[in-house]
């Protein structure tokens, strides 16, 4: 299947990717990760053999870039206590319940990713399954388990 002009691909998936990255790496890193994601996609684009699921493809790249960003952050020196905390502005998509999102971040990695894919990007279970590399049933279970845990701790 031929790919659409890259700009259309950006228009169709750019904001979903940004939403996912904001949820995964935070507002301050999201722009950089977004650019890394779409540059990587652009590089591979002309040779891409796609099955119609471009959203899944670009989210897989974004997922990897988010992991890279987490790792890079861990390697950075730990700021000392004397440096004042800069208040982190909560992104639009997460506004409302920052405490809840803190709980989401505390879930096991797979459940965390599944919950974000389901409720931040509004992905179907089939797409979540291909992103996480598991069966659709397992994706459904991860979302279910994650939400159940959130219900127990959030009350």
């Amino acid at each position: 299947m031929g790919v659409p002009p890259f700009q259309r691909f950006v228009d169709d998936h750019g904001s979903a990717v940004h939403g996912f990255l904001t949820a995964s790496v935070g507002r301050h890193e999201a722009d950089d990760c977004w650019q890394e994601t779409f540059i990587a996609a652009l590089r591979a684009y002309p040779r891409l053999q796609h099955d119609g699921n471009l959203r899944g493809w670009v989210l897989t790249i974004a997922h990897r870039k988010a992991i890279d960003s987490h790792r890079a952050r861990q390697r950075r020196p730990v700021p000392s206590d004397t440096v004042p905390e800069i208040p982190v502005e909560v992104p639009d998509t997460l506004r409302g319940e920052p405490a809840l999102w803190k709980l989401v971040d505390g879930l096991p990695p797979k459940q965390q990713a599944a919950v974000k894919h389901r409720f931040v990007e509004d992905l179907g279970y089939g797409d979540i399954a291909s992103l996480l590399g598991c069966s659709e049933a397992a994706a459904r279970r991860s979302v279910h388990e994650g939400v159940k845990k959130l219900r127990e701790t959030w009350a």
Binding site: G2, V3, P4, P5, F6, Q7, R8, V10, G14, S15, A16, H18, G19, D31, W34, Q35, F38, I39, L42, R43, Y45, P46, D92, T93
Partner: protein
């Protein structure tokens, strides 16, 4: 869900260019005719889409025939947009923007358009004359077809080519547009 910020998209286009990944840059340009679409490759202007063309189709065509790395990057088209503005104001008589002939292919069609590009501002020629210059006097009909499929109208001035009998001939952007451009140039 919020849309991606304009400055992030602009940075992205800049980065794409710096990494040699911007194969086709395009922008939409307001003109007295309506909204035009202008696209360029690193070689030069490759396509001008008229107001009456579906710009989505034009982008699809560019993706299929040149490269799918088609990105909206208005800054990359500033120079040619300025030239178009000045042309429509009657202040510019010769475009200096470099051209990329990829979409015209080789052979007769390319020859016809190459000679068309040389017709001076305010002058006109005929399909017959273009066919003759391109090496086949009898192929004036084919010359007409070549001009009808001109990928870079206005800048490659196919509007300056008229029917041999003195009629306007045809025009992809509509005969009213052809007439209007010739009026602007003082050729009618």
């Amino acid at each position: 869900m919020t849309t991606v910020k304009a400055d992030l998209l602009e940075q992205f286009a800049q980065r794409a260019e710096a990494e040699g990944l911007l194969d086709v840059a395009y922008a939409e340009v307001d003109s007295p005719l309506g909204t035009l679409l202008v696209a360029r490759t690193p070689k030069g202007v490759v396509r001008l889409g008229f107001h009456n063309e579906d710009h989505e189709d034009v982008l699809e065509e560019l993706a299929a025939r040149i490269s799918p790395r088609v990105i909206e990057a208005p800054a990359k088209l500033d120079a040619v947009r300025r030239e178009l503005d000045e042309y429509f104001e009657g202040r510019l008589h010769r475009f200096t923007a470099k051209l990329d002939w990829t979409l015209t292919g080789q052979g007769f069609r390319h020859e016809v358009l190459k000679y068309t590009a040389k017709i001076p501002y305010g002058r006109t020629s005929t399909y017959m004359e273009m066919a003759t210059k391109a090496g086949n006097r009898k192929a004036y009909r084919a010359a007409g077809n070549a001009l009808g499929s001109n990928p870079i109208p206005v800048i490659v001035p196919c509007h300056r080519v008229l029917a041999t009998g003195g009629g306007l001939g045809g025009y992809g952007g509509g005969l009213d547009v052809k007439e209007r451009l010739l009026h602007l140039e003082g050729a009618l």
